[in-house]
């Protein structure tokens, strides 16, 4: 099927469903109004029948049977074709009126009911609304009116329905057509994602349209994907650079070792090469760990962790290193703060923050703290050094971002912290501790049991 034909069929389908719904609604409305109309008619008929019955009964009471029969004859001579009257003697004999027998299911006294006439001028099964009364002399009087045989739609209502449908078609067609064209544009834009051209925009400039929020959400999604792709490209470039540079240095050292034996005072090139390889291995291990944490695979390893214990362990590992740097390391956490965490990854994240503080801060004290703040769990490492100027914070967070390119490290430290925080449903914040830097891992507070 050609694209134009497919488009046409699609348009027809798109029109059919709303049109059917429109007609169904219209039919329901008509039925409703017709029913209202019928009930109103029934009420008016009933009132008229009661009034006629009263008038006839009064006439009978005042002037007797014959006067009643005469009045009935006079009434039946008028052109009201649907009028029913009947007077039956106490023995059942018909004394007057236009029915040839008393309806089977009608009592002598009835305040109003519908009966079916077995035979009415050749037509079978005509319905009629009737009232009856037993008169003082024992006669039974019936006053009734035939129900209409069919209730056609009230002409103004039918006309309104037809006009509504026509107006609907006139208004809806261009609107639906425009909407289908817009959806086709969105589909084309989606098709173009991943191609060589720059990513398309779904939300046109200055467009105010009903599907604006959808187009906006799609644009935001494309931006997020693009950011991820840019991040990934940056990581691959940086990894390639770091690994390439490390391997080049290592090869040079191995070559040097093959050519000339090391002098007694010079460092052993093979030993240096070994160290370079160990560094490369460490960079790779951290990159793998980040990948795992970001893929959410670390969720499987959540266990209840006592944060006071976790911080004390960490401080006991690093306090000797802090002593060497003439710094003090403190842990601060309340008792029995036990939360489900991945102990290894959270320890590694905090270790990265402590190492950063040991390496880069000129301040004397470093505090590692855990606390519950409202509905959040906060793990933070604060130093009392110079901190990071606000404009350089994004650079510090970036993968392989090194504020001091001469400093050791993989440049992946904060990225790992960020990934671990996000894996636990939280985030990493860097802020000024006035003086110093405070790195805060904010996690949603969850406490087992």
């Amino acid at each position: 099927m050609s694209r134009a034909a497919a488009h046409g069929t699609g348009l027809f389908r798109a029109l059919l469903a709303p049109a059917a719904m429109h007609l169904a609604g219209l039919a329901a409305a008509l039925l409703f109004f017709a029913e209202l109309d019928r009930r109103e008619d029934a009420r008016a008929t009933h009132a008229a029948l009661i009034a006629t019955r009263s008038a006839l009964a009064t006439l009978y009471a005042a002037h007797g049977r014959q006067a009643l029969i005469d009045d009935m004859d006079a009434r039946l001579r008028t052109p009201e074709a649907d009028q029913l009257l009947l007077l039956a003697a106490p023995n059942g004999r018909i004394l007057g009126g236009n029915l040839d027998r008393w309806p089977t299911l009608l009592a002598g006294d009835s305040a109003g009911q519908t009966v079916t006439l077995a035979d009415w001028r050749g037509a079978r099964g005509r319905d009629a609304a009737v009232v009856s009364v037993r008169l003082a002399g024992g006669e039974r009087l019936l006053v009734g009116r035939l129900e209409p045989t069919d209730r056609s739609m009230t002409p103004p209502l039918a006309a309104a329905a037809a006009l509504g449908l026509a107006l609907w078609l006139v208004c809806a067609l261009p609107f639906l057509h425009a909407r289908r064209r817009r959806l086709a544009e969105l589909a084309a834009a989606a098709d173009a994602i991943g191609g060589s051209a720059p990513p398309p925009r779904f939300h046109g400039p200055g467009r105010d349209e009903p599907i604006g929020p959808l187009a906006g959400a799609l644009d935001a999604m494309v931006d997020r994907l693009q950011q991820k792709i840019d991040d990934l490209r940056f990581v691959i470039d940086s990894l390639a650079h770091d690994i390439g540079a490390g391997l080049t240095r290592t090869r040079a050292l191995v070559r040097q070792a093959r050519i000339e034996p090391p002098g007694p005072s010079a460092p052993d090139p093979l030993h240096l090469a070994d160290q370079h390889l160990a560094d490369l291995g460490r960079t790779l291990a951290v990159a793998i760990e980040i990948g795992r944490a970001e893929a959410g695979q670390a969720h499987a390893a959540l266990e209840p962790v006592d944060l006071q214990r976790l911080l004390t362990d960490l401080v006991e590992l690093f306090d000797a290193a802090a002593e060497v740097e003439a710094k003090e390391l403190h842990a601060r956490a309340p008792d029995r703060l036990i939360v489900p965490l991945n102990r290894q990854l959270v320890s590694q994240a905090l270790a990265n923050l402590v190492e950063n503080a040991l390496r880069h801060s000129s301040g004397k004290t470093i505090t590692v703290a855990a606390a519950r703040e409202e509905d959040q769990l906060v793990l933070e490492v604060t130093d009392s050094g110079a901190g990071i100027p606000p404009h350089r914070l994004p650079e510090a967070r970036r993968r392989f971002g090194r504020l001091d390119s001469r400093a050791p490290g993989t440049g992946l430290g904060l990225t790992l912290v960020d990934a671990v925080a996000r894996m636990h449903g939280g985030c990493l914040q860097l802020e000024d501790a006035g003086p110093g830097l405070r790195a805060r891992i904010l996690l949603p507070a969850r406490c087992p049991g």
Binding site: A301, L317, Q344, E355
Partner: protein, 229 residues
Amino acid sequence: MLNNRILIVEDDAATSDYISRALVDNDMAPHRAASGREALHAAFDGQFDAIVLDRMLPDLDGLDVLKALRAGRVGAPVIMLSALGSTLEKVAGLDAGADDYLSKPFATEELLARLRVLLRRGAGEIRIETRLVHDSLCVDLLSRTVTRAGRQIRLQPREFRLLVYLMRHAGQVVTRTMLLEQVWDYRFDPATNVVDVQISRLRRKLEEPGDAPLLHTVWGVGYRFGAAE
């Protein structure tokens, strides 16, 4: 003394050669298997003192081989090797019944140090101790006190664990990673030399001027507790 028989399960011939040569150099008898099935045949047929098992094999997952070995009542200690070096992979390996887990790339010294610890553990040296004594150094495990030549030495809780671990493996080389795993229960490698400075501080506390050194640095590998060699 009989050479320890070690089964190496590794499909990469170069790595297998490299491990095999290191084992021969250290008086061990390697036997090589290049696939999971070959490994299972060899392990069920022969008696091995330890198994070095690669995680990624051409036919079977190393974890499945390990589970099959344990199900078949092969009790030899197993070190898993893997390029999947993440913490989670290590935990999965240990949960499946591995005695140790080593990420690639690794140094042969690291593998040898870990193998020796496992071999000694496998030799049935399980005994209930309340005191560890080496020369004039005495560690009371119940009262958690340390004395050297009658002199009381105050240690922090982790320093105490570090000393106990070193003394229990006296004469053996233990690597920094082994210490991080066994003393601190950390399966990641901090970038700073935290273990080295911990050892230096412990050494300062244990050794006064004139005392015989007890903690020896094994260059490029790790540490050894005991008398000088």
